[in-house]
């Protein structure tokens, strides 16, 4: 049977969010970010958000616009511009709280939430300053003994010795999200969604880790057409995990959304330059962010 029709607008999604929520954002760096939804949040009264993201301009824009209390990230980067300038400024002025995790830890935190377990163990992070600065992280001791024959790598005299230990590992806490926002190349009206390009990123984990998930998409198609877009491994998000579907052609602009479009590098440069002065930011905001999505897309078209 066809799934329910969950089509809605960006502003309707924002109306379902509230200040103080923890919101996960899909994509990776400056790739396939649900930017039309981010722009809708920028136009709203929402504030005090905790953002979980493999961060790009989504994080920078939200930080610069005073929407953020805390950022939990594996990194925040514009890819072709390695440092996200607005996130960098927010960190240096201390205007936000930050949890900077190892990239792999973020995957495990999302997976833990998606599987409804309180944590997942990993070796990543042990010995590093992540444990020193992210004070809420804890370790866990394995209930199973690990037996290892020592190699020559640990000092010399102990090489060849058989040792046994209940290993201590980092317990990555579940990243339980109030809401997740992701962008997909195609979807049907009920939220079955298809990623194209070469990497699903962690979008399917974000939607499973969240209470409510919203999928913006380049195009809404009949369900019968989804499987023809790519091999079935690309049908990665199920309607069961989706609360709302937003048709947003070019919605990931200015980030990359392959194969539909590549990153708008010229626009990204213009965005990055707004970190240079308040005047530059105000001008950018007035021109591109204080208009609705149709207005934004029209402005961008004028630039081409």
């Amino acid at each position: 049977m066809p799934g329910p029709d969950k089509r809605c607008t960006e502003d309707e999604v924002v109306a379902e969010l509230s200040s103080g929520m923890t919101i996960g954002i899909g994509g990776w760096g400056s790739r396939r970010k649900p930017m039309s939804l981010i722009r809708a949040i920028l136009r709203s009264d929402l504030t005090d958000l905790t953002i979980v993201s493999y961060g790009g301009p989504d994080v920078g824009l939200l930080c610069r616009s005073g929407k953020v209390r805390k950022v939990v990230s594996g990194f925040v980067s514009l890819d072709s511009i390695p440092l996200e300038p607005h996130y960098q400024a927010a960190r240096q002025t201390g205007s936000i709280e930050a949890a900077e995790w190892d990239e792999g830890m973020l995957l495990l935190g999302l997976q833990a939430a998606a599987w409804r377990v309180p944590f997942l163990p990993t070796r990543a992070g042990l010995g590093s300053d992540i444990l020193k600065y992210m004070g809420d992280l804890r370790t866990v001791r394995s209930p199973y003994a690990t037996e290892v024959k020592l190699g020559g790598n640990s000092g010399g005299e102990s090489a060849g010795e058989l040792v046994s230990e209940f290993e201590e590992l980092l317990a990555v806490p579940a990243l339980e999200l109030d809401a997740a926002l992701v962008h997909q190349n195609a979807a049907d009206v009920s939220g079955n969604a298809v990623w194209l390009g070469e990497d699903p990123f962690m979008d399917d984990l974000f939607v499973r880790a969240a209470q409510r998930s919203f999928v913006s998409t380049e195009r809404i198609l009949p369900t019968t057409e989804l499987a023809g877009l790519a091999d079935i491994s690309h049908l990665k998000i199920s309607r069961m995990d989706v609360s709302g579907v937003i048709e947003a052609p070019h919605g990931a602009h200015f980030t990359e959304c392959l194969p539909d479009y590549s990153r708008d590098e010229a626009f990204q440069k213009r965005y990055a330059a707004t970190a240079k002065s308040d005047e530059a930011w105000d001008e950018f905001r007035a021109e591109f962010l204080e208009v609705d999505e149709a207005g934004y897309q029209a402005k961008v078209k004028e630039l081409q």
Partner: protein, 287 residues
């Protein structure tokens, strides 16, 4: 690690071109060879250099003496070029990058984490700061809680260093990079690994640090038996004094210090083919 890495074997005794006599060999070429040497003996695992010169060096190793290495296209696939001359050049325009890769495996980011947690990977990362034990900082300068300068964050450095072999590339060797103590420990060094104990640190190996001046390894130990940074070879034309002046951390200098070897004719041809636009020369200009 084998003992083939004694200081003398790093010297130019393999039929390399004498850099002093051959104007065609640049410091950047020496660096590319030193980087390639870091991957020697790795066999069938992922060679994952990050940055232009590391990419040239890693691909040079695959195209010359370390044919079994798996290579990344820099994004979502691993590629198996079917002959040395088909190892793709770096920094190709997107269409060419895609056309020239021989895709052997799908490797989206989540799979990369799976691969690195399993351990068959040797990464070469950059380091904004590095200390005598090989602790690396790419996160921030100053106190992490409110940094003077926010950098990349921890990225994958903690997970990389505790799970598999890591080397570092420093194009701008200075006392601000080779420091007594890094501001933030991202990639963990031998003192941190030692403190974790032999089981937790059993996959840890910081193998090599290659800079624009010299090559370092960790085949010396401090008074507590912890592996510590050792000067392995000087690049041709670089003096010991020059390196020590540019290094603020402790470094062991062996008696029989070698000279970083020059590329063979074949290697030089590959370097030029892998980097046709000479990007390595803007990263490491001629002294």
């Amino acid at each position: 690690m084998s003992n083939a890495s004694s200081p003398t074997s790093a010297a130019g005794v393999d039929g390399g071109i004498d850099a002093g006599e051959n104007a065609g060999v640049t410091r950047a070429d020496i660096c590319a060879v030193a980087i390639a040497e870091a991957f020697r003996g790795d066999g069938e695992r992922l060679c994952n250099p990050i940055g232009n010169l590391p990419l040239i060096g890693g691909r040079l190793a695959a195209a010359t003496f370390e044919h079994q290495l798996a290579l990344t296209d820099g994004f979502y696939t691993l590629m198996d070029p079917q002959s040395p001359d088909l190892v793709p050049a770096i920094a190709l325009p997107e269409a060419e990058r895609v056309a020239q890769r021989t895709v052997a495996h799908w490797n989206p980011y989540r799979e990369m984490f799976g691969l690195l947690w399993q351990g068959k990977r040797h990464v070469m990362m950059g380091a904004t700061q590095i200390d005598q034990y090989g602790n690396q900082n790419i996160a921030a300068i100053g106190d992490w809680t409110k940094p003077r300068r926010q950098l990349l964050g921890f990225r994958g450095a903690p997970g990389n260093t505790i799970n598999h072999t890591t080397s570092y590339w420093v194009p701008n060797h200075s006392p601000r990079v080779f420091v007594q103590a890094v501001d933030v420990v991202c990639g963990i060094g031998y003192d941190r690994a030692h403190a974790l104990g032999p089981i937790a640190s059993r996959f840890h190996e910081v193998r090599r640090v290659v800079s624009n001046l010299a090559v370092f390894d960790f085949e010396a130990t401090d008074s507590n038996g912890v592996a510590t940074m050792r000067l392995r070879s000087l690049h041709p034309g670089v003096t010991l004094e020059e390196v020590l002046e540019a290094t603020a951390c402790e470094v062991v200098v062996p008696k029989d210090l070698g000279v970083s070897r020059s590329p063979t004719e074949q290697e030089l041809a590959q370097i030029n083919r892998l980097d046709p636009r000479g990007l390595r020369l803007s990263e490491v200009p001629e002294p």
